[in-house]
């Protein structure tokens, strides 16, 4: 076994793996920059993965078949945006505590995807042979990587990014300057939801080429962790996503090499890595958006 080939192998599996993590954590970064911590990312990804899978599954053999993937992706993004809006309704309008609301959204998304999937599809099914599609999955991957500098630019160089950072750090100041705090937070949550939905779509259409109840398998939560690890910065988040996906593909490559090792421990690896990463990141003095996790109420006296 040539070491060079081995590395190429690891990278060629690992880099595509990073796409869904990257999309989801970039979306989560916008949420958190606006001051909202969305743990429901996992549930949005489940729904995204399911809807993206459903399009080619149901449109098979119809006139729309060449467009099926595209439609699936759009449906996933739309649903992601809607779920982001639902989360905003709970946490921005009603000011519900965000951590537990995220768990609620996760259960909702996971439950709906599972219910619909079992009812309409049944067991584990692959996606019918991928015909030439309007938008190839590779294009989606390139788009995800382009999103990194784009979201850096949006965050630091555009009016919207300025508002997002302001409402996440000092919403009252933003409010006195005429920035609509609730609207900005809604926008950020919807954008985050769209990206999470897209991440889910990539997972079922591009990566696994199938759907199962637990297809997301914690990637949504890992994406949230990556935002902390990446210090709310798109480039560091890209680094984190690559680190994770390469660790994962390394583990696969080692298994393929036939080294005796219970596969459960290999599967465990990314989750253990998350805890270790958070443990090391936690001690640092760099702080995130100051008002992360706190609802804003203009009428409240301070």
């Amino acid at each position: 076994m040539n070491i060079f080939a081995f590395i190429t192998n690891v990278l060629s599996i690992g880099i595509p793996f990073s796409v869904s993590l990257l999309l989801a954590s970039t979306g989560e970064m916008f949420n958190q920059r606006a001051g909202i911590f969305n743990l429901g990312c996992e549930g949005i990804m489940s729904m995204g993965a399911f809807l993206a899978f459903m399009a080619p599954h149901t449109l098979q053999g119809t006139a729309l078949e060449p467009w099926a993937n595209m439609l699936g992706i759009l449906a996933a993004m739309l649903m992601g945006g809607l779920m982001g809006m639902l989360f905003a309704l709970a946490t921005v309008t009603f000011r519900a505590p965000q951590g537990i609301a995220g768990i609620g959204l996760h259960m909702l998304g996971w439950g709906v995807a599972g219910t619909l999937f079992r009812f309409f599809v049944g067991g584990v099914t692959g996606i019918p042979g991928l015909k030439p599609v309007f938008l190839g999955m590779n294009a989606l991957a390139y788009l995800a990587f382009l999103l990194v500098p784009a979201s850096w630019y949006i965050l630091f160089k555009t009016p919207w990014g300025l508002k997002v950072r302001a409402v996440g750090t000092y919403p009252r100041a933003a409010d006195t300057m005429g920035v609509n705090v609730a609207r900005t937070r809604y926008q950020a949550l919807i954008a985050g939801g769209v990206l999470a939905g897209l991440a889910g779509a990539y997972l079922s259409l591009g990566q696994a080429k199938m759907f199962a109840d637990d297809i997301v398998a914690g990637r949504g939560f890992i994406a949230v962790a990556l935002v902390y690890f990446g210090r709310w910065n798109p480039f560091l988040i890209l680094g984190g996503s690559l680190l994770f996906s390469i660790a994962q593909s390394l583990q696969l490559a080692i298994q393929v090499q036939g080294i005796a090792f219970p596969y459960e421990f290999a599967v465990m690896l990314p989750y253990v890595l998350v805890i270790l990463v958070l443990a090391f990141a936690g001690g640092s003095t760099v702080r995130g958006p100051a008002e992360l996790g706190k609802p804003y109420n203009r009428e409240k006296r301070v």
């Binding site: 508002k163 006195t176 005429g178 003095t285």
Partner: protein, 508 residues
């Protein structure tokens, strides 16, 4: 509308209610062109609420706002800015993690291009405003890097950049040294040739120095409106409080019999990692009140944290009754007999969701008086609360209501009752009267003096010079983490303290 000069701003019957209080009760005020109106009142009199309605942050429940005789409604601050009204808030409305230019840009639609920020444009605008009014600022500095005085300049520049031709300043001098205050007043006088100003304060000397007319608010109502020059400071004070208040004074003699709290060469880091206390030394004696004066942010917070065991002490010692307490746990320090009135009474002094009676035993649930083994003695906790409610005049509907629902003064009484009932050998009080009305201030000052007479040593950290001058035996001034000088109270004056607070030590 945009270009129209504001010749007159008038409110008619403005009313605003908050849960449990009538914050503004049918308020009428008016301000003419180039006029400075001072709005005076105690904390909680409704000044800030009124201004927030003028800025479109709150909506009035009743009443109207008229500009040049025309009724105007401000739904958001954008409307107020569009009409030319701008406000400098008491707590600066600046995003610390952003630069000066970014903060200004946040409110300026004209420089927010599609997908682009016109940084050059906004910097030109900042230059223009700052040279016109003589307010130097650095557009590229981050807010967190600036001192309080500099941040206030930025606030002013920002408000002017947004096109304010009618300026509201809410307690602008509260964090400034006396010298900085003088500069600000001179600046505002200059600016009044250009615009109208509403100046909110409860410091009457500033009000008489600056304003043309004054409106006095008490418990949400206007109790006096008229020309400032017609009333003396004493008359204004009586109108403001509703009665003659003579705050108790410390008449004691300063003689140190035995040291209680001896702090020596203390070095403590701030949250950001720099030395917040850098060789801080101070001793307090039995039956003595030592005042610690200083502009906020010079290490007071870190000193208080270090004394209560909540912050790591890197070097130096804190001896309490001869025993080293630096780096002991908060529990050990409490048990050693150090009392503590924390800075933020609603989140550090009490557990707001807990009942009044539970809060009164916060430090003593482990004591044999209130628990047997692990079990709480609920009867004893209740009796204790009834007793303290009587003695400290704590006004609450029932001892079972959440302490967080009490007024600020009553919350402070709960905290003082709990601390004094523990018979502390020393008490550290951090800004104990901040934001309280004079009645509560009087009560708290009396309790602190009573403690002194019982032999307790009190360290009073405050930014109110009058409070320090009234109560202290000695006044120490903290500047950049060390004691710059210590004056016996009878030698201290506002002027001397002010210079010391600014870091200027007179050449002896």
């Amino acid at each position: 509308m945009k270009q129209e000069q504001i010749r007159e701003l008038r409110t008619i019957g403005i009313t605003k209610r908050f849960p449990g209080i009538l914050a503004c009760d049918s308020i009428d005020i008016d301000v003419g062109e180039h006029e400075i109106l001072a709005i005076v009142g105690e904390n909680g009199a409704g000044k800030t609420t009124l201004m927030n309605m003028l800025m479109g942050l709150y909506q009035p429940d009743e009443g109207k706002i008229l500009i040049n005789g025309r009724e105007t409604r401000f739904r958001t601050p954008v409307d107020a800015y569009a009409a030319g009204i701008g406000m400098v808030h008491q707590h600066f409305m600046l995003v610390p993690s952003m630069t000066v230019a970014e903060n200004v840009l946040l409110g300026m639609r004209t420089y927010q291009k599609f997908l682009r920020l016109d940084m050059a444009g906004v910097k030109r605008r900042i230059e223009e405003i700052s040279s016109r009014y003589g307010l130097p600022v650095q557009p590229d500095a981050y807010i967190w890097q600036l001192s309080v005085g500099e941040q206030q300049r930025v606030e002013l520049v920002k408000t002017l950049c947004l096109g304010a031709r009618f300026l509201i300043l809410d307690e602008p001098t509260s964090a400034l040294t006396p010298q900085e205050t003088d500069e600000l007043i001179a600046l505002l006088k200059r600016m009044s040739s250009d615009m109208s100003i509403i100046f909110i304060s409860h410091k009457l000397a500033e009000v008489t120095a600056l304003s043309d007319r004054v409106a006095i608010l008490r418990q949400g109502r206007v109790v006096y409106r008229g020309s400032t020059s017609e009333k003396s400071i004493a008359q204004l004070a009586a109108l403001m409080t509703g009665h003659e208040v003579n705050l108790p004074r410390n008449e004691g003699l300063d003689s140190c019999e035995e040291p209680v709290l001896a702090i020596d060469e203390l070095r403590v880091r701030s949250d950001r990692g720099f030395w917040a206390l850098d060789g801080f030394s101070l001793t307090t004696c039995k039956g003595e009140i030592v005042g610690l004066a200083g502009v906020a942010g010079n290490g007071q917070r870190e000193l208080a944290d270090a004394l209560s065991g909540l912050r790591h002490v890197d070097a130096g010692s804190i001896r309490f009754l001869g025993r080293e307490i630096a780096n002991l746990s908060p529990r050990q320090i409490i048990e050693a007999g150090l009392g503590y009135v924390p800075e933020d009474r609603t989140t550090e002094g009490i557990v707001p969701a807990f009942s009044v009676q539970d809060n009164l035993v916060l430090k003593d649930v482990r004591a044999a008086r209130f628990s047997r083994g692990p079990f709480l003695k609920l009867d004893a906790i209740k009796r204790n609360a009834e007793d303290l409610r009587e003695r400290y005049d704590i006004r609450c509907a029932s001892l079972a209501v959440p302490a967080g629902s009490l007024s600020g003064g009553n919350i402070q009484k709960v905290i003082l009752a709990r601390e004094i009932a523990r018979k502390p050998a020393a008490l550290v009080a951090v800004y104990p009267t901040r934001g309280l009305d004079l009645g509560a201030v009087e009560f708290i000052h009396a309790r602190l003096l009573e403690l002194k007479s019982q032999g307790t040593s009190v360290l009073l950290i405050s930014e109110e010079l009058d409070e320090l001058l009234d109560l202290s035996d000695r006044i120490a001034v903290i500047y950049k983490g060390r004691i710059l000088d210590i004056l016996p109270a009878h030698q201290a004056t506002r002027q001397k303290l002010g210079l010391l607070m600014a870091g200027i030590r007179e050449v002896a």
